[in-house]
Subunit: 411 residues, 2 copies
């Protein structure tokens, strides 16, 4: 088999970790597999380099920051190749320029556009293991760009897609995808498999197991993706694949996201394009809006021209920028007031058939009612139901909902 | 003017050092000069990376080592660009791949073959400062190679040659070239200028002010080279240029090299090609031989076919390899015995007209006689006289010779 593996920063943090991972790679190589391995920078390297940069320039140029940060992965792959040599296995390390991972010019948050498979194919033909620096690309100017935090997952999936790999294994601190965070919900259990879509919802809801773009790419290119433990190689992990049982209700998991600020813009004149006006203004400031709820305001009736409110959530880091942008455009948008709330958290349940199975939402609301947690806002999609609740009560709510659904699944 | 500057690792060791150097660069940039700056890796970065590599693999592959080590310079140039931005100056950092510093494939000790000037020229046209990673090249496989320890000097001179720079300034811990090491010879004085050839002799004799290949390249391409202090930018330094006063005796300096092992191969049959045989054997083992002295042996007469001895010096690190190589080939070479001596040091005086000015050698020998230092071996060239003396007495000898020549120069 042609296998692409990805190991994160903590898996290669020091010589001991590197040797452990090298042992795993060599074992699979000697079992007859062709191996392509993607690495992140060692341990805290990226943060240390960021700190060094900010000491010199509090707002370093993104081009230069990418030039600096990409050295972290390059060091990791060179050291891993040395460790493999020490175990008697042939290995060649490659950075993004050498592989030919062509990416957009957007420093700090580039997207992979094309991967040239030639050099990797040549090294594989020589029966050698290929070690690739994750997280980085090269743009049309020949400059390094980085693909965003955690994007080594994306590098691995993209390579698996281009090379037609039989399997893409992503090794992390956890041994798979759980129905909820086990630290919060003790009854959470590991899933043997999950669909791409459910995984996407879980990841975007704050369950930081996979990089979201990696899952999207795996879905698009039908890459067989397995999340495994880097601490215990004997554990089987969770396979992410095409969902096949959309008819049946599947409770795949529950996720909590505490990084939420709710903003309400009130007393808007209800005219066409008003929501577009607000969100395009925020988009120009690079502010991502999550849940959006549009409601009739205090005015009676629903004829155009009457007052209404729009509520939405943003990440807390974007709160000030959001409030300032809206305030600066109060006249142009035309609203009466803004309120915001940072005492809330987002709780989502994810599973195939959420929207089409009657009783799912009511079971969730029943669980919340039973533990006396008020719902501030509700949003639903094909495979997800999200509520905003008091952040202080979100753990209690999570346990109550998880238990209710675990019971429902058994029935 | 187009100025190429090079700053060593200690000049960019931390944020404070980087900001100091950035200040100097911006000052010259604002004075209207076009600036190309070559940097080494920060402080002990290269040694730290080497230690990391050896922890994982005591004999790391040279390709992977170059992949690892080149990250040090890349980090330094990115940080310097950030520091320049902070001072409001435009700057772009480039590594060897981006510049197009094409080098031989010999990892760890590659030679620059060609530098593509296009990208640097483009950045300079945009009125920006260019910061280039020293010490590195890219070979025909697209892999990083390093140019040998201290080779950032070479990068700077090569860039100055290709770009037709008006001046190449190399900043180091010392403020210029001295007639001797001031720590050993207190009366040593700084030279305002020195010829390429004298500089070459001084550098190869252990006065580690410039990287020797950098001086050779400067000579070949007539690059105006100035050695300056990175600690005090107001000091003028030493200019290295074409020698112009070969007629007159010039005492340019005195150098001591303690890394010497003397080997004597005795009882050789004096037949054509015997010296070539020995030294080509050593060359295949990458052993550099320095002084060579061929003498008639104990046998009488000088007819071919009679016994003779060959003595030569190598660096102490190569002593074991040299003895082993010779011993393994005793039959093929045909000699009776080998002796070696590691209690010696090499002392050289360098200056234009050494060979053609009567009395220079005798003045040197007189000084040695006056301080009771025996001469073990003598070697002379156009601009240099070298003696091997007892290592324990070499400092005393250096002071005596320096004083004698300083007096001669005044006369």
């Amino acid at each position: 088999m042609l296998i692409v593996q990805k190991y994160g920063g903590s898996s290669v943090a020091d010589a001991t970790c590197i040797n452990r991972v090298a042992g795993r790679i060599v074992e699979m190589y000697r079992a007859g597999h062709r191996m392509v391995v993607v690495l992140s920078a060692q341990g805290d390297t990226t943060d240390d380099l960021l700190a060094k940069a900010r000491e010199i320039n509090p707002q370093p140029s993104k081009r230069e920051l990418d030039m600096l940060l990409t050295t972290g992965e390059q060091q990791a792959v060179a050291l891993m190749a040395m460790a493999l040599h020490q175990l008697g296995a042939p290995a060649v390390s490659l950075n993004a320029v050498q592989v030919g991972i062509e990416a957009t010019a957007q420093y700090g948050d580039a997207r992979i556009q094309r991967i040239r498979p030639e050099r990797i194919a040549r090294v594989l033909e020589q029966n050698s293991i290929v070690i690739v620096a994750g997280f980085q690309g090269v743009n049309r100017y020949g400059d390094f760009t980085t693909l965003g935090r955690g994007a080594s997952d994306t590098t691995a999936v993209a390579l698996a897609a281009v090379l037609g790999a039989d399997l893409c294994e992503v090794y992390t601190d956890v041994d798979g995808v759980y129905t909820a965070d086990p630290r919060i919900v003790p009854t959470a259990r590991k899933l043997n498999e999950i669909s791409y879509d459910e995984m996407l919802e879980l990841a975007s809801m704050g369950a930081q197991v996979f990089h979201n773009r990696a899952v999207e790419m795996a879905k698009r290119h039908r890459v067989k993706l397995v999340l495994r433990s880097s601490k215990d190689f004997t554990k089987e992990g969770t396979e992410v694949k095409e969902g096949s049982t959309m008819e049946k209700l599947l409770f795949s998991g529950l996720a909590i996201d505490r990084d939420v600020a709710r903003i309400s813009v009130m007393g808007l004149l209800d005219r066409p394009g008003i929501a577009f006006h607000i969100f395009s203004l925020l988009a120009t400031q690079q502010i991502s809006v999550d849940i959006i709820l549009q409601t009739a305001g205090a005015a009676d009736g629903d004829a155009p021209g009457q007052a209404m409110d729009i509520s939405f959530t943003v990440s807390r880091a974007d709160l000030d920028a959001t409030l300032n942008t809206l305030a600066a455009n109060q006249q142009a948008i035309g609203f009466q007031s803004i309120t915001h709330d940072i005492t809330l958290a987002k709780l989502s349940i994810i599973g195939a058939g959420m929207a089409t199975n009657a009783g799912v939402a009511s079971a969730m609301f029943e669980a919340l009612y039973e533990c006396a947690v008020n719902i501030n806002l509700i949003s639903t999609s094909e495979i997800k139901i999200t509520v905003l609740v008091d952040a202080e009560k979100v753990d209690t709510a999570a346990r109550a909902i998880h238990d209710k659904f675990a019971k429902l699944m058994e029935e």
